[in-house]
C-alpha cells in the first residue's frame, strides 16, 4: 500500500472541495484509494523532459498530478534539480500530490496581462 501526501496547494483544494463540492471530493478520494493500491496502472506517466516522472490521474472532472517517491529517487536528474525538502523523511511507498485541478477551470476566459 502507498501512503498519500499532499502539498499545501493540493491540501487547500481538497479542503475546499470537502466543504463545497462533496461529489468531486468523493471522486478524488476514490481515486486516492485506487492510487494507494496501484498508482502506476491508475495513472499516465508524463514523458516530456521537464515534466518527466510526474504522473496524472483523472477523477471525473478533476486532474491529479503527483509523483511516486520511489520512482523519483530512481531518477537522479530530478533528485539533483528538484529535491523536495522532506525527501529524507518520506517512505519509499509514498505518493506526493502536487496539484488537483478542476478541468473546467481551463474554460475560464484568460485575462490580458500587461
Amino acid at each position: 500500500m502507498y501512503k498519500i501526501y499532499l502539498l499545501s496547494n493540493a491540501t487547500r483544494q481538497l479542503k475546499r472541495l470537502q466543504k463545497k463540492a462533496r461529489s468531486r471530493f468523493d471522486e478524488i478520494n476514490k481515486v486516492f484509494d485506487q492510487l494507494s493500491v496501484d498508482p502506476k496502472t491508475e495513472s499516465i506517466l508524463l514523458k516530456d523532459p521537464i515534466l518527466r516522472g510526474f504522473r496524472r490521474a483523472k477523477a471525473d472532472e478533476d486532474r491529479i498530478r503527483f509523483r511516486i517517491c520511489e520512482e523519483c529517487r530512481e531518477d537522479q536528474l530530478f533528485l539533483k534539480n528538484r529535491k523536495c525538502v522532506d525527501c529524507h523523511g518520506m517512505p519509499e511507498n509514498a505518493i506526493k500530490i502536487f496539484d488537483i485541478e478542476h478541468r473546467r477551470s481551463v474554460y475560464k476566459k484568460h485575462k490580458i496581462k500587461r
Binding site: 501512503k3 496547494n9 491540501t11 514523458k47 528538484r82 523536495c84 502536487f98 477551470s105
Partner: protein
C-alpha cells in the same frame, strides 16, 4: 447582401478541452513556421486559410468558427488562444514570434508533428504561400474568396458577423488530429497558463515546505 446574413453570430465554437489544446498547438506551429513575425490579423487569416484547406480535404485539425468582420474572417476563440500563448510566454511581441518555451514545446513534441504530418504540411504550405504578404494584401485576397458556408457569395459580400467557416464535425471528417493521452497530459500543462503557473509553483513549494499526510488533512477539516 445575401440570405445568409440574418443575424450577428458568435464565433465561439464550444470546443471541448482536447480541441482547445490541439488548436493552441497548431497556432503555435503556425506562428513559429511563419516566414516572418506576424500580427494577429495575419495569424487570423493564415489560420483561416489552413482551416479552410483542411476542411475541404475532410481533415479535422483546427476547431474554430470564423465569422466575417471588417478585416475578413475572424475567430474569437483564436484570439483567446493567442492570448493564452502570450500569457504562457510561448509567444511574445506585437508581431508574434515563438519564444524559447514555444520552441521547446514544438521540438519536444515533434513526434506529434510527425504523426499528424498532413495537418502541419498544410500549414507549412499556406505559410510559405502567404505569410510573406503584407497584411492588407492578404485581407484583400481573402475578401475575394468565396464564402465556404454560402458559395454564392464572396466573403466581401457576406454580411458582417455571418459565419464563414464552422468547426468541422467529427462524423464528417475522414481524418482527425490524433494526440495520445500522455501527450495531452503534458500539453495541458504547457498550453494552459493557470495550470502552468500553479503546477510549477507547487514544484517550487515542494523544495521549501513538507507535504502533509492525507489522513491528517482529512482529520483537520
Amino acid at each position: 447582401m445575401g440570405r445568409n446574413d440574418m443575424s450577428i453570430k458568435t464565433s465561439k465554437s464550444g470546443r471541448i478541452f482536447e480541441e482547445k489544446i490541439i488548436d493552441r498547438f497548431l497556432v503555435l506551429f503556425t506562428i513559429h513556421n511563419s516566414t516572418r513575425p506576424i500580427g494577429d490579423t495575419m495569424v487570423q487569416k493564415l489560420t483561416f486559410l489552413s482551416a479552410l484547406d483542411m476542411k475541404y480535404q475532410g481533415r479535422k485539425g483546427f476547431n474554430y468558427n470564423f465569422i466575417k468582420l471588417d478585416f475578413g474572417p475572424y475567430s474569437s476563440d483564436l484570439k483567446d488562444d493567442i492570448q493564452v500563448l502570450l500569457n504562457n510566454r510561448a509567444i511574445n511581441g506585437h508581431y508574434r514570434v515563438a519564444t524559447k518555451l514555444g520552441e521547446y514545446i514544438l521540438s519536444n513534441f515533434s513526434h506529434i508533428i510527425d504523426e499528424n504530418s498532413i495537418f502541419f504540411e498544410k500549414i507549412e504550405n499556406i505559410n510559405q504561400q502567404y505569410s510573406h504578404w503584407k497584411s492588407k494584401d492578404l485581407v484583400r485576397y481573402v475578401h475575394r474568396l468565396k464564402n465556404p458556408e454560402h458559395p454564392r457569395f464572396s466573403i466581401h459580400n457576406t454580411r458582417q458577423g455571418s459565419y464563414i467557416l464552422r468547426k468541422p464535425k467529427v462524423w464528417r471528417a475522414e481524418r482527425e488530429f490524433s494526440l495520445s493521452e500522455s501527450d495531452m497530459a503534458s500539453l495541458e500543462i504547457y498550453l494552459d497558463p493557470e495550470t502552468f503557473h500553479r503546477f510549477f509553483a507547487s514544484i517550487e513549494e515542494a523544495k521549501q515546505k513538507p507535504a502533509v499526510e492525507l489522513s491528517e488533512v482529512l482529520d483537520s477539516v
